[in-house]
């Protein structure tokens, strides 16, 4: 039950994009069509899930015994970069179409602050391994949901009559802000 609460809290209440404002770059860059958004979300789930487990293990079984916990940032970045590199190779081999459609945003998952954010939050929040794994699914799932909803809204915005100065990114940012307001409604539930 505690884990379920954690899951809901991380997916919706403390949504990574709308309440912490992580990962705004891919949110803007890859939300032009829902299919791309979905691919991006799945890629991010893969990276965050594995990285949150691996970084947790590395932190408590390598960095803590050696008393070099100040090296956490660089170690985590190393792990994340390797995972993204692996994902890139995998996608290039298995589905070149997805690889092409995601373009530069695929390697940019490395610098997606949600990924590093989850890894660091797992440590600062003193999660155990199971909780870290739950966080590793819940957070990117929240990202997936938001980026997908956002992409569908943006498709409607394409045909909407927006004032010229607001066309494109500005109206998208305003939309994201309104979505964040909506999420505020359930703040503090869990």
């Amino acid at each position: 039950m505690k884990l379920f609460g954690l899951f809901i809290a991380l997916t919706f209440v403390n949504n990574v994009v709308l309440s912490k404002f992580y990962a705004i770059c891919p949110l803007m860059g890859l939300s032009k069509n829902p299919k791309n958004a979905l691919n991006m979300g799945i890629a991010v789930i893969f990276v965050i899930f594995l990285s949150s487990i691996i970084t947790w293990l590395l932190y408590y079984y390598v960095l803590v015994p050696l008393k070099i916990t100040y090296m956490d940032l660089i170690t985590f970045i190393l792990v994340i970069a390797s995972l993204v590199q692996f994902l890139e190779m995998f996608l290039k081999k298995t589905s070149p179409d997805i690889y092409k459609s995601m373009g530069v945003y695929l390697p940019l998952i490395t610098t997606n602050c949600a990924v590093l954010g989850v890894a660091l939050d797992n440590i600062t929040a003193n999660y155990n391994l199971i909780e870290a794994a739950v966080a590793g699914i819940a957070v990117p799932l929240g990202f997936l949901i938001v980026i997908y909803i956002f992409a569908t809204i943006r498709q409607r915005l394409e045909i909407a009559d927006v004032p010229t100065s607001f066309k494109g990114a500005p109206i998208a940012l305003i939309t994201a802000g309104i979505m964040a307001c909506a999420i505020m409604g359930i703040a503090g539930v869990v």
Partner: protein, 101 residues
Amino acid sequence: MNAVIALMIIGGVLGMMLGIAHKYLKVEVDQRIDVVTDKLPGVNCGGCGYPGCHGLAEALVEGEVQTPNKCVVASSIAKKEIADYLNTTPGPDGKCLQIKC
């Protein structure tokens, strides 16, 4: 000292895993793309409208662009070289491209 050794080991292990993964997930790419990329100036200015020199090389080899003149930086000698190379080197399908310079 601990930190240096630990980081080196972690990096080494991760690198090794990636190396193994690379072996199994290797994708055959057209050899010509690499050669053309080398012949381009390599400044990645984007003046041709493609993301970097590799992008233009890909477009050239795949026939999307028919002339290296798209590149605004390369010397005319380098452009001639690229055209000659692509006109004389057959691709995987055994055909040479028709590149104008």
